[in-house]
Structure formats: C-alpha cells, structure tokens
Amino acid sequence: MSNPRILAIETSCDETAAAIVEGGKTLLSNVVASQIEIHKRFGGVVPEVASRHHVENMTAVIEETMSSAHVTYEDLDAIAVTEGPGLVGALLVGVNTAKALAYAHQRPLLPVHHIAGHIHAADLIADIKYPAMALVVSGGHTSLIYMPERGEYEVIGETRDDAVGEAYDKVARTLKLPYPGGPEIDRLAANGEVTIDFPRAWLEADSYDFSFSGLKSSVLNYIHNANQRKEEVIQENVAASFQASVVDVLVERAQRAVSAYQAQQLIVTGGVAANHALREAMGKTFPNDGDVELVIPPLSLCTDNAAMIGAAAQVVWEKDVRAGYDLNGQPGLAIK
C-alpha cells in the first residue's frame, strides 16, 4: 500500500496534537490543543504541568481528529507517534496513547523523530527535491540537516548552547515581555532600528554550528548597563538589533550549507520560522527565480503539530520500520 492513512500523535512539548494524513501528503484533519496560555504565567513550559495536561486532553483531541476527518478506525492503516526528542514525561503520554490505540485496533505502530516531523511538514505543501537542506529553528532546536535522499538525515550543524527560540525567550524576559518571547520580539523589532552592534558568533570558518549564548549575554549586559547608567532602553531597537544578529547568522549558515552540499531546496521550519525578519531575509537570499527553492511551511505547520508527524510517518512506513509495544519516549533521540 503506497497511500496509507495514518493517525499521528505529537506530545513532545506543550502541544497535545493529533492528525490524520494520507500518503504523507494529504491532510484529512489536524487538531492541536495548545497549552501556551497555561504556561504563560510560569514564564516557560513546566514539564510536570505539561504532562498533566497531555493526559487530560489526549483522548478528546483524538476523538475530534477522527470525527473531523470523518473516518473510523477501520479506515486507518497505522498509528504514528513522536518517539523523541522532547520532554520525557510529555512524550510518554503520546507514546502510551499511541500504543494503546495500535493495540486496541491491531494496527502497526510507527515511531517518528520530532525533527523529521518538522522537516516533512514541507511534504504537505510542496514536493521536496533531493538533495535538500533543512534549517530547523524552534524553542528546543537549531539544526541544519542535509538530506541526500528521502529518509536520510545528516545533521551538519547544531547549536552548541541555547536553541534560537530559547535565546528569544531569555531576551524577552529581560525586556519584561510575556512568554513566548519570539512573537513579542518580532513585533517590537518591526518598529525598531538596528542601532546596536550585537555580536555574531561565526565560530570556525568551516563550521555549520550555532551559538547564541554570547549574543544573549551581550543583550542582557547592554540592558543591565543602560539601567545602571539610568539611560533609556529603546526596546524596539534592542529587539531589532538582537533579531538582526540572529537572522544574519541563520542566513549565512543556510546559504553556505546549501551551496557546499549543492542542495536543490532549502526548507526552513520550526516555530522560529514564523519570524517575519527571518522569512524576509531568507526570501531575499533565495529569490523565486534563483537556483535554490525556498520552502517555508505555513505557521500552523511550523509550530509543533501532528500533521507533520503524519507526513514523516510516511517515510517510516516506506522504510518498513515498525515499533514494538515496548516503545518508550526518548528525550534525547538522535535523528538518522
């Protein structure tokens, strides 16, 4: 069977999500119960709180996914779930839910890597052309992944400290902006100017790795020093300057990687791919009439969701990989 209908589940962080995808391309339904409002008051995702809400929301989310796709379990060919990486307690809820479904209806169980999910969100809006390069940027990840062909993933660069989304959240906190920080800084930056020369961590000449902790400290120091001297901090300018530094580094890495690996396509995905400045800069660097096609999934497929897990599960299905009933959550799972 080449177009299996897959029910996919994702609970690696703070979104309880389920979706049904056919053949890795056609989205039949996509439900996300977000916990952002719940975690806002804590200033970040609290693992124990996230796990509790996953248990509470999971079965209702699945039922809604099934009914809005107008399918029954008879119509499903497999159950897929995010195996890792992520918060272990959160992953375990999705994994055990998926196993119970697979067992109850005697369907195969497909284990999916969360980052592969982010990448294959692109399958839902375009045809990925290999060799392809993916830049996955989110609160938990900053990775450059080279894909020589479908189902092969080679991490060529990663963050050595903070994920880019983490740096956004920390800078936002210092500017006393609410969580999550990304959209807030993006919004401020749109009304600001790049007036401060924050550092760009270029690292070694041939490296595709990232480092954002120096930049983050530099922003924190700048604000601290300004406050000490009782100088006014123009938040919009700090945001714009910080964002300019982040975007410069992301674009440079992506551009260098795409040309070194002769990729036909660049996929930019993950929650931070929603960022306006990043989208604009990538659009300029990889124009429509250029050699390299730029694919950025829409916001709803960039942030955590299960549709992307269903799309990536198609690759797992094609490779004939199946999980046993002893499937566990793997918080530090590597992509391969």
Partner: protein, 232 residues
C-alpha cells in the same frame, strides 16, 4: 471480561477476569520504566488466554496516588483503550486496592506510599466482613501527623506499603506493638483485587476528563499560587 492495570509504584501488574474468576494475572518487580512493560504485559496476558481486545468488556486502572509518571502511563493507556473501544472505565484508588490485601483484618488498615520529605500518601480503612470502609480519606500526610492520629485510636494498625522499611522505625516508636507490617507479598497491589473492586463501582462518567489522583499540585503551580497570595 475486564482488563485491570496498575502502574502507580515500581511494581507493575496486569490482570484479566471478573468478580467470579481471575483469568490471568502478571506482576513484575523490576525498577524500570513502565512504558517498556505495560503494553507488552497486556499483550502477554491476553495471549495467554487466547483473547483479543474485541473480547474486553471494561478497563480498570489504579489512578493513584503514586509515582506521577507511572500513574500517567497507566491512566493514558487505560483511558485511551476505554475511549477508543467504547468500554466502561473503572477508576480505582491505588491505596484502596492495596488495603484489600488485609480486607479481613481487625483494626485499622493503613496503606501508604512514600512521598518524600517525611510525607506519605495514605488512607485508613476498617473492615467489615471483607468490605472496606474509609476511616480517613486518602490524602498527603506528614507521617508524624498520621501516626499521632493513629496513636489516639488505640487499636491495632496494619501497614501495607512497598516503602515500609523507610518508616518502620518511626511507626514502631509511636505505635509500639499495635502496629503490624504486611509481609513482602502483601506490600504491593494485587491486580486481581482491582478487578474485584471495579465490579462494585460505577464506571467513570466522562472518560475524556479522567485524570490521575495526584493529591498535590505540581511544584510550579504551588509556587505560583503562593506568589499570588493564595492560602493552601
């Protein structure tokens, strides 16, 4: 036929059957993640009696108190199976299931689970011809407070817990010879008892809303409430 499961402590148990007959029972004692063993265990007991999910008539689960992660694995599995197979779901207290191991005892029956920092999740029951009646409802106790309450009652108290050894000295000091301690075989939940309890109660009314008995707010929630000026 009901499928019962318990993942609230490091001992994990699964059973199949009903009030009239336990058809299969499986218990493991390894201190490993339940996610590795729960569904293989269910599959194992089902196969051992040549049964499959279509023959199930209900799902029963201990919903805590206990290890948060452990209980979540059991509850997520049980509520998913009940919801997806449209079966009644039975919510059983881990402490009540444990207390059943002494359900013909005279005096008080006190199952507990260590909750660190001198605290225990505990309840106190009394038996009447094998039926348990609640004397003190399950809650998070300071062990010292619980023992003070039990000392006043001046009746014999039967303690059941996998964590007996952490508290034995303290218990003996306060209660002396009125305290008795369950043998190792009775310190854990017997999955068959979950089946028996399930048949005496109404199923969960709203399966989607079903959640573990944590008996405590998450740490971050506690701190937040404190900062907001709530009083516990």
């Amino acid at each position: 036929m009901i499928l019962a499961m318990d993942t609230s402590t490091y001992v994990m148990g699964v059973a199949l059957g009903n009030m009239d007959a336990v058809k299969a029972e499986w218990t493991t004692y390894e201190k490993k993640n339940h996610s590795l063993r729960l569904l293989p265990g269910i599959d194992h007991v089902m196969k051992s009696i040549n049964s499959d999910p279509s023959e199930l008539k209900g799902i029963a689960v201990t919903s805590g108190p206990g290890s948060y992660t452990g209980v979540r694995i059991g509850v997520a599995t049980a509520k998913t199976m009940a919801s997806t197979l449209d079966l009644p779901l039975y919510d059983i207290s881990t402490l009540e299931a444990l207390a059943c191991n002494r359900r013909f005892a005279n005096g008080f029956i006190c199952p507990f689970i260590d909750a660190r920092r001198g605290q225990v999740y505990a309840a106190v029951y009394e038996s009447n011809e094998g039926e348990l009646h609640t004397v003190y409802k399950e809650k998070l106790w300071l062990m010292d407070d619980l023992l003070a309450v039990l000392a006043e009652a001046s009746t014999s108290v039967h303690f059941l817990s996998l964590d007996i050894d952490f508290h034995r000295e303290n218990i003996q000091q306060v209660l002396g010879s009125t305290a008795t301690f369950a043998d190792p075989v009775d310190r854990r939940v017997k999955p068959g008892e979950i089946l028996r309890l399930a048949e005496k109660i109404e199923p969960v009314a709203n399966i989607h809303a079903f959640s573990p008995r944590y008996l405590q707010l998450a740490e971050a929630e506690k701190n937040w409430r404190k900062a907001q000026g709530y009083h516990e």
